[in-house]
């Protein structure tokens, strides 16, 4: 808006207001791009919503109903929303509520599906890394290969943290061949050492998908039936140079019940499409993805840590599930070192196999003497959260007062309730959408949590402090219980926040 210098000096309430607005423009300039980005995506969802309830709104424009945007104009006009329109004072003249709302909407909530599925917990996974010359490309910093390896190391750590009784092997595609980097083993250090060593060599030649798949098939051949057989391919190239017919290799994989997951670094490739579709019972969405950016690459990598759900057809075809014989060894500490059966090294203490009384130094492992799987009960417990996931918390809808003032987990203070009269005014509509109650409620115990605790509880802790803190099976009191309508409202809200972030 054009501002007259003289007008600016006049100290009237209006003038003051205007200069304040200007100050906010200057402040917001640097963040403007971010806001525009977020509002852009935000608009898409908004548009759908408004077209649904298109009867509402003022009809001072001639725009057709479906194209109508938020302000009564065309929806694409909404795209050019000024960031300073979002930032408005609340009735006490403070920006705090709106700013905290914006900060919170930046944080990403944990929104994974928590339906308990039957999963193949005991996994054998072959990680296939593209190490051909295309990986020298510098579109990922410092280059594709270096980033892939550093993420792969993170993946190995996380994989064994969450799947301690599973096994892994690493294979690279280089010079048209498939080469083993580390053999199938349950020890994360072997793989990490091998990957670190791999960093020193340069990517070379062409990748061969067929060779890599054949080698993975060979590695997974001896795997017993209670384990899942998986291959995870990081594929940077858009071509593959194969010695034979890759289609017959894919058929072989399907027969062996090996499921292949591909993360593409460049673009979708038809052969990978076919490979994933055939080996995953047509489920292409979760098995074949192409990265958008570094963050997305990491997310896709980490998605592969969660064990695969067993499909219906798979479980029907089976005659029954298997029972695995396992040994739970006792730990001993010794005054003098003795040789371990697994590495033939002198070590103090270790674990004694309950079957044959030989000593092993690390767990989980297979006893080198009697071939019994040796694990600790804690290893089994690590996988429990995949089987019994914690239900998602629901966002508490905005209201004038809430039953709680602090987060049950970390006791951080929640923002206060919003007066209904203020919420209802039309001019604050946009603000209302940014704003939230900042409370996320466990539906079982009715305790409220802040967004940080919500994320921490679902990603790290895996049990609800509220439910665990009740000494009795607590029934929800009527005041705390959310009505179904509230639930639907907050459901909408959640999706909307998700849209902003993705």
């Amino acid at each position: 808006m054009p501002l007259d210098p003289e007008e600016e000096n006049i100290v009237t309430p209006a003038g003051r207001h205007r200069s304040k607005e200007r100050a906010s423009i200057i402040n917001d300039d640097e963040n403007e791009q971010d806001y525009l980005d977020s509002t852009d995506k935000y608009d898409n969802s908004q548009h759908i919503e408004t077209s649904r309830n298109s009867n509402e709104g003022n009809d001072d424009h001639d725009a057709p109903e479906q194209l109508k945007g938020n302000n009564g104009g065309y929806s694409w006009e909404d795209e050019y929303r000024r960031s300073w329109d979002i930032v408005q004072e609340d009735e006490s003249g403070s920006l705090e509520t709106i700013v905290s709302g914006l900060v919170e909407s930046q944080k990403k909530r944990y929104l994974k599906d928590t339906t308990p599925f039957q999963r193949g917990i005991i996994r054998v996974n072959v990680l296939v890394l593209d190490y051909s010359k295309v990986m020298r490309e510098k579109d990922l910093r410092p280059n594709r290969a270096a980033m892939m390896i550093s993420y792969a190391i993170d993946f190995v750590n996380e994989f064994f943290d969450q799947n301690p009784i599973s096994q892994l092997s690493v294979v690279i595609m280089r010079n048209g061949l498939a080469q083993i980097v580390s053999e199938v083993s349950g020890n994360p250090h072997d793989h990490i050492e091998a990957l670190k060593k791999l960093k020193k060599t340069d990517p070379e030649g062409d990748p061969s998908l067929q060779n890599a798949l054949e080698m993975s098939r060979g590695l997974l051949l001896h795997v017993p039936s209670h384990c899942t057989r998986e291959v995870l391919i990081i594929f940077g190239a858009l071509f593959t140079s194969d010695p034979g017919n890759i289609h017959s290799t894919i058929q072989g994989l399907v027969q062996e019940k090996i499921s292949v997951r591909v993360i593409g670094l460049t673009a979708r490739v038809a052969i990978c499409d076919e490979l994933c579709r055939l080996t995953n019972h047509g489920d292409l969405k979760s098995s074949y993805n192409v990265i958008l950016n570094e963050q997305h690459f990491k997310e896709l990598f980490m998605d592969a840590v969660t064990p695969l759900a067993i499909t219906k057809t798979e479980s029907q075809n089976k005659r029954g599930f298997s029972l695995v014989k396992m040994g739970f060894p006792q730990r001993v500490s010794e005054q003098s070192p003795s040789f371990c059966a697994c590495h033939s090294r002198l070590v103090y203490g270790g674990y004694i196999c309950p079957n044959c009384k030989s000593k092993v130094c690390v767990l989980p492992t297979v006893c080198p003497c009697c071939n019994l799987t040796l694990i600790l009960s804690t290893h089994l417990a690590r996988s429990y959260h995949h089987l019994f996931p914690l239900t998602l918390f629901v966002e508490v809808p905005i209201s004038s007062s809430y039953p709680t003032n602090t987060c049950f987990g970390c006791h951080v203070r929640f923002p206060k309730g919003v007066e209904p009269s203020w919420r209802a005014t039309d001019s604050h509509k946009r603000k209302k959408e940014i704003q939230s109650s900042s409370r996320y409620r466990c539906t079982l115990c009715g305790c409220d949590f802040c967004i940080d605790c919500d994320v921490f509880i679902h990603e790290v802790l895996h049990n609800c402090p509220g439910c665990e803190s009740r000494s009795r099976n607590h029934k929800l009191s009527a005041s705390i219980q959310l009505t179904s309508k509230d639930l639907i409202d907050s459901e909408k809200n959640r999706i909307h926040i998700h849209n902003i972030n993705s």
Binding site: R319, G320, F321, N463, P465
Partner: protein, 386 residues
């Protein structure tokens, strides 16, 4: 020779100095979880002549000395296993406002409407009133009055709220039993989960970033009160956050808590002489997280890692694990259905597992009959036969 020795010496000195420097600066958070299971305490009191008051005073000494070590140090205290309250935060107390709400929700709204200055005034008056009340209550229990303010706040709050909780427990219990709610579950995992989320906020805040934290559990109840899966989940979370869990064990030994302290690099101490609790608390259980890499921890290394069977509850050496739900079984179920997840098990596989090792008649005869189907040869038995 001299040169080599010299260099080694200099290097060592430099290192030690660096370490010392780091050690000196970083404050830490001490979280104590106090198990107040009434039944177990009754048993302890009868057998050892140990009063709850003694434990509380020992605990207060420990908290105070932690505060005295560094001005940036923080403490927090949770109770667990209370029959009525479950797990609850006792110190620092945040529930001032909650009390306000429950007492007079109308007056609260009025306060909100007024200007902020008046609100502050009202709050101050309320606070003063409350602290005066607290003082009266606490001074009945605390003998000395002229102490450092920081200590005083801690002592008063803790003594006061513990007093309140324990006094209310019998009447609360009675009302519960009257309602027919007799099923009571252990809540140590709840206190652990709360403590971990509090630590998580602490470590991620700008103010206290990089602050180390540790948890001390003063536990009196046995394993039967611990829900297995949630305790394990909290242990793994603690491991991820690099929070060590120390256990001060009164009453029956607990395998789960042994595992907890072992996997988080903590101390597990079974208190043989409960009357000398203060000494245990101020020595063995007082090792700062920064010192852990340098100190040989006074913990036991022989830990029973064996799992217990889901059906018979016996400790298992060699067991069977369902590949679907990972439950541990000591015997193969007769109906070939997993007892926890009800999935059908493979018949052929069970037949194979049930097959017993066969004894070969004699070595000479065995050589001739090599091609007969006897895959499981037990060498020991064979040897004995000879």
């Amino acid at each position: 020779m001299d040169a080599i020795a010299d260099r080694a010496f200099v290097g060592l000195k430099g290192n030690a100095k660096d370490k010392y420097h780091i050690l000196d600066e970083t404050p830490s958070l001490l979280t104590v979880i106090l198990d107040i299971n009434p039944l177990e305490w009754k048993k302890l009191m009868d057998s050892n002549n140990l009063r709850f008051k003694d434990v509380t005073s020992a605990l207060l000494v420990m908290l105070n000395s932690h505060m005295a070590l560094n001005s940036g140090n923080k403490v927090s205290l949770y109770i667990a296993n209370s029959f009525y309250h479950g797990a609850k935060l006792v110190f620092p107390s945040f529930d001032d406002d909650d009390n306000d709400d429950s007492q007079s929700p109308n007056s609260k709204e009025k306060v909100d409407d007024n200007s902020s200055l008046e609100e502050e005034k009202v709050n101050e008056i309320v606070k003063k009133k409350r602290s005066r009340q607290r003082k009266v209550n606490a001074s009945r229990i605390l003998e000395t009055t002229g102490i450092y303010r920081q200590f005083r706040i801690i002592d008063e709050t803790i003594v006061d709220s513990l007093d309140k909780i324990i006094k209310n427990e019998p009447s609360n219990l009675k009302s519960l039993v009257g309602k027919g709610e007799t099923h009571i579950k252990g809540t140590l995992s709840g206190a652990l989960s709360q403590a971990l989320s509090y630590i998580n906020r602490f470590q991620n805040s700008d103010e206290h970033s990089g602050m180390k934290a540790r948890i001390v559990c003063i536990s009196v109840s046995g394993d039967n009160t611990l829900p297995y899966v949630s305790i394990m989940n909290s242990i793994f979370a603690a491991q991820k956050q690099k929070v060590s869990v120390d256990v001060c064990k009164l009453g029956p030994n607990s395998t789960f808590l042994q595992q907890a302290s072992d996997s988080t690099n903590g101390v597990y101490i079974y208190i043989k002489h409960p009357l000398g609790l203060i000494q245990y608390l101020s020595t063995a259980l007082f090792i700062d997280p920064m010192l852990r890499p340098m100190v040989v921890l006074p913990t036991n290394t022989n830990i029973d890692f064996r799992a217990s069977c889901f059906i018979t509850n016996k400790v298992v050496d060699i067991g069977y694990v369902c590949s679907v739900c990972l439950c541990i079984l000591s015997v193969i179920p007769e109906d070939e259905i997993c007892p926890t997840c009800h999935s059908k098990l493979d018949h052929d596989l069970i037949v194979m597992l049930k097959r017993k090792p066969r004894v070969l008649p004699l070595v000479k005869k065995a050589k001739r009959k090599r091609n007969s189907s006897t895959p499981d040869i037990n060498p020991v038995k064979k040897f004995r036969e000879n």
